[in-house]
């Protein structure tokens, strides 16, 4: 429709300069976008498609001289019937939902605390950025040390005072995953707060003042005015964190290695073990495809919500 319309408009112009302004503009914009698209297709999409192909094969680099045998959907069936595989899927969802939920609630609280502009708050913000910058691997190791029951500054006293089991948080099948969720919350809440703060700061001042003038209580003002306007930012923060939380690897890898038993095995931990330790390429590809599918579904749901919220905000 649009292309037809623009085509008919530019006919007289084309006679004069060869190409009409709108066409030239369009070619220019396409030319700007092509390198990035080509790059992604070449370097990300090509291996991805290869990964989908591999997932239908029994393909182990360390066995049978790396021969590929077609096995249909067996790799996927194995993932969903294998105890570890099922556990990994459940753990990943629990981890993602738990971590993102608390990061959002706490991050929003933190963003509201920091909203007031001033030197003091800016300094606080700078301090809160520190955890975001520490390598996730190191963050995992820090907490492993702090929570150790023999010599950890936190773990020792938690066990000594009977708050946790004497074996410590990482050793309990019920406590290990929540502990890892806590670590994730510790590291990423400030980032969520930062994104939400940026959203808060971009809110139009006149609307807020109008709400104040109407005599709305703080809670009403927050619920009826701020939150709806903040929705697009909220969803961005949620989507970004969801994508990364779903691929959690580093912190688990250096603390529990997926244990005790399979209590903290995530899809990525399982996939990396199958792919980069046993070089079981077919199965690892299936695991990562399921991961992509899960993220895709969750992201699609979020995206639709962003679009809706976006449309709503534009109408106002």
């Amino acid at each position: 429709m649009t292309s037809l319309a623009s085509g008919s408009v530019s006919i007289p112009q084309r006679r004069r300069s060869g190409l009409g302004f709108r066409d030239r503009r369009r070619f220019f914009l396409i030319a700007l976008a092509v390198p990035a698209v080509a790059y992604i297709v070449l370097i990300a999409l090509y291996p991805l498609v290869q990964g989908i192909w591999y997932s239908f094969f029994d393909y182990r680099l360390l066995k049978n001289g790396g021969r590929m045998t077609f096995i249909g959907l067996d790799n996927y069936v194995q993932l969903f019937t294998d105890n570890t595989g099922r556990r990994a899927i459940i753990n990943t969802f629990v981890f993602t939902i738990g971590a993102v939920f608390f990061e959002f609630v706490l991050g929003l609280g933190l963003a509201l605390l920091l909203w007031r502009d001033g030197r003091f708050n800016r300094i606080c913000l700078a301090f809160l950025l520190i955890p975001v910058t520490i390598t996730p691997l190191v963050v995992g190791l820090i907490f492993r040390a702090l929570l150790a029951v023999d010599y950890g500054y936190i773990g020792y006293y938690l066990a000594e005072w009977g708050i946790t089991s004497p074996r410590g948080l990482f050793a309990g099948t019920a406590t290990a995953l929540p502990t890892l969720i806590f670590i994730d919350i510790w590291e990423w809440t400030p980032l969520v707060a930062l994104i939400l703060l940026a959203g808060l700061k971009s809110l139009p001042g006149d609307i807020l003042e109008a709400a104040l003038a109407d005599g709305a209580t703080s809670w009403q003002r927050f619920k009826l005015v701020i939150l709806p306007l903040l929705l697009p930012t909220v969803f961005l923060a949620l989507v970004l964190r969801m994508m990364d939380a779903f691929r959690v690897f580093d912190s688990i890898f250096v603390t529990t290695g997926g244990g005790p038993a399979d209590a903290t095995t995530s899809l990525m931990v399982y996939g990396v073990k199958q792919g980069l330790q046993f070089f079981n390429i077919g199965y690892a590809s299936a695991i990562s495809n399921v991961t992509i599918l899960c993220i895709g579904l969750m992201a699609a749901a979020f995206t639709l919500m962003i679009r809706r919220a976006d449309v709503k905000a534009n109408e106002q």
Binding site: R25, A44, P47, L129, I130, V139, L141, W186, L236
Partner: protein, 292 residues
Amino acid sequence: MSSAASTLPASALPAVRRRRQTALQRRIMIERIALVAIILVYMIPVVWLVATAYKPPKDMFSSPPSFVFTPTLHNFQRVFEVFDVWSLLKSSIIISLGSAALSLLLGVPAGYALARSQSRYAIWVAYFFLAIRTVPIIATLIPFYLMMRDIGLLGTWWAVILINTTLNCAFVTWMMFSYFRSLPRDMEEAALTDGCTQWGAFIRVALPTVVPGIIASTLFCVMFSWNDFLVAMFLTNLDSKPLSVALLAAFGTKDITWGTLGALAHFSTVPIMLMALFMNRYFVQGLTKGVH
């Protein structure tokens, strides 16, 4: 303010204002105390990481944990004995800046194009870019490894830069798309009608308005590449490996060496922390428009 005041008799005004002001002050006070408390909780692990680098090995593991120790530089000595710290640091810097530069080079124009495009598919292309960032790295790592072998880049910084750039460039494109979209197009259109070239309108008119967004994107890219360990571990060799990869070896498998980890973490964390501290104002500014 005015509506509340108008319902009260004029004589009560100063008292109300004073009361409201003290209430506000009290509230700010409470907010600040809360913030300081949160920051203190947040600093415990960071302080531990720093302190542990100066702790003698014997005190590291005392049970119950000891709070007093004589600081030593032994751990730093050890780190320099085992690792070529400057080479690691150099690799980290090259990989993260290289990937950030390449991502910006590809992502900023693409973001601009998508934001200014009239096509209704543009938004879907933008979401496609966002989706690419979700790809778990194991899916692409082994095919990519063989690809790098075939073109002779395996073990070089380029291999890591190229693969990090896929995720980073996708993210930059998406973020700059949002940023450009939030800005009016009047100026560029005016420039174009004034006879400015397409290129000129992009470089000289549009780009200067998105500098905070570019800085925020750079920070994100640098942080992502700097902290990534799995990809770099797989693709680099002794001469090209960055700090993040050495950290795990510093920690050790059979001998836990928190001290050397802490010492090496000084080098891996301090530069990026300083960068974030100095740039945090741009970070918020850049995000403010890039988040819609």
